[in-house]
């Protein structure tokens, strides 16, 4: 505590001393543990400290304290996920009444609406799985993008397939109803 106060207020403007302390406090985890084996230069050149030390000081008293905001996620455009979240939850909420309703009253309009909602809901669900689990830190830079691509592919195929059932087949509600009307061999006999 005292050491940190000492270092922050430039009472002792001896840079060499400050750098010495920083050098002592900065300890690369990968290198050998014994600090005494290293040759400690009495004065470090300015060039050494122009580059930010890549290692974190182990003594908290010498850590620099940033007060500006630290961007924790990607430094891309500030992606507004908040609006998307509202739509995701609205879709989930809408599905609750619409699925029973759609099954009760089979018609093309409800079927189409349901197809869109179900595809969207599944897409966002699969996307969350891919984002959560297929991480760049374990899979590298390429595979996560392939995973997201697969999610898009599956969703498009789902939507296409559902619309095919609506337009060229019995429709979604009727298809589900037909599943329930399938009788097993033992029952028929």
């Amino acid at each position: 505590m005292a050491l940190s106060m000492f270092l922050r207020t430039p009472v002792c403007t001896n840079q060499a001393f400050t750098k010495q302390i920083m050098r002592l406090a900065t300890y690369s985890a990968t290198s050998n543990s014994s600090l005494t084996l290293r040759a400690l230069p009495s004065v470090l050149s300015h060039k050494d400290h122009a580059i930010k030390p890549q290692t974190t000081p182990i003594f908290d008293s010498v850590r620099s304290f940033r007060t500006t905001a630290v961007r924790m996620s990607d430094d891309e455009k500030p992606h507004d996920h908040a609006k998307l979240w509202v739509i995701e939850k609205a879709t989930s909420a809408l599905l609750v009444p619409l699925i029973p309703l759609g099954l009760l009253i089979p018609n093309k309009l409800f079927d189409s609406l349901l197809a869109i909602l179900i595809t969207a809901h599944s897409f966002w669900g699969l996307e969350a799985i891919a984002v959560d689990y297929v991480r760049a830190s374990i899979f590298g830079p390429v595979i996560p993008k392939i995973a997201i691509g697969l999610v898009y592919l599956i969703s498009i195929a789902t939507l296409g397939g559902l619309f095919y059932i609506i337009s060229h087949d019995v429709g979604l509600a009727n298809a589900v109803r037909h599943f329930w009307s399938v009788k097993s061999n033992s029952q028929v006999a």
Binding site: F65, A69, V70, D74, D80, A82, V131, D132
Partner: protein
């Protein structure tokens, strides 16, 4: 017959305690995770320690201290207040993240108590995790009061806050930043670099809904991206494991409603600058 009555009940228990204390009959095994950074190639292992519960205070931290003092001084762990208010001794005890100092030792002698460091954290040594990222994330939410107009030095007046507004902070300010909740969250395990985690998010909420704070818009806008808040899928391990009985899961849900724009922060019941304005008039 009267002599037999003497051997039962409380008096009987006192009698048996007095005669068996030195025999070490209640031996409990503690299976503790060990790893030494000075021998980095040696894989982590579990070391068993036997503690006589008759000679040990009731909490897990007491057992750890007894082991360190009497059996193995190299056992390394963080501790400070020993009363559940500092958050230093957070660790995984029998699969649950809690504070060791307020966690009673399970008296079942047939099973060992497993003590592990907080899950999915880099280990500095034995039971000591590296919480640097956790602290960096806490720093990033700017955990201090921000006013539109800071008071001029020397002329600061008390900021007013209604009792009801202060009640909104109950259940939020008591957090000791022990990291039990964040390290129990699977989303934090998988995306701990970008997802802030329940502890930090609950503190973000604590500052967002403080009636005296003016930086609500700014605070919320920093949380809008895909990772900071929205990796929470309401798993609720956080609330389940909090050793202080707090509810980070609920705080995160409140943040989500505020971010959605459907719910807005209520204006303060008492104008915080009330006294300042009064002083300016006089």
């Amino acid at each position: 017959m009267p002599l037999l009555r003497l051997t039962s009940g409380t008096f009987g228990q006192l009698r048996t305690f007095a005669t068996s204390a030195t025999l070490g009959k209640r031996i409990k095994t503690f299976a503790v995770y060990r790893w030494n950074p000075d021998e980095p190639d040696k894989k982590p292992y579990t070391q068993n320690y036997e503690v006589d519960l008759d000679d040990c205070a009731p909490m897990v931290l007491d057992a750890l201290l007894k082991i360190k003092n009497e059996m193995d001084p190299t056992l390394t762990f963080r501790r400070s207040c020993r009363e559940g208010v500092c958050g230093s001794c957070a660790m995984n005890i029998d699969g649950v993240n809690t504070l060791a100092c307020i966690s009673h030792i399970d008296k079942n002698l047939s099973k060992p108590t497993k003590i592990y460091p907080l899950p999915h954290m880099y280990v500095v040594k034995d039971l000591v995790p590296d919480l640097s990222n956790f602290y960096r994330q806490y720093q990033s939410i700017e955990p201090w009061l921000q006013r539109d107009k800071e008071a001029t030095k020397g002329k600061e007046t008390q900021l007013l806050q209604d009792v009801e507004d202060r009640a909104k902070l109950d259940g939020l300010y008591e957090c000791v930043l022990c990291a039990c909740c964040s390290t129990s969250c699977p989303s934090y395990w998988w995306n701990g670099d970008k997802y802030l985690g329940p502890a930090v998010l609950m503190q973000a909420y604590r500052w967002i809904i403080d009636s005296r704070d003016d930086a609500t818009e700014k605070r919320l806008s920093k949380l809008k991206d895909t990772y900071s808040v929205y990796r929470c899928h309401t798993i609720m391990n956080c609330t389940r494991t909090c050793p202080k009985g707090l509810n980070p899961g609920r705080a995160i849900a409140q943040i989500k409603t505020l971010l959605s724009g459907i719910v807005k922060k209520q204006p303060p019941i008492l104008d915080p600058a009330g006294l300042e304005k009064q002083a300016a008039q006089n």
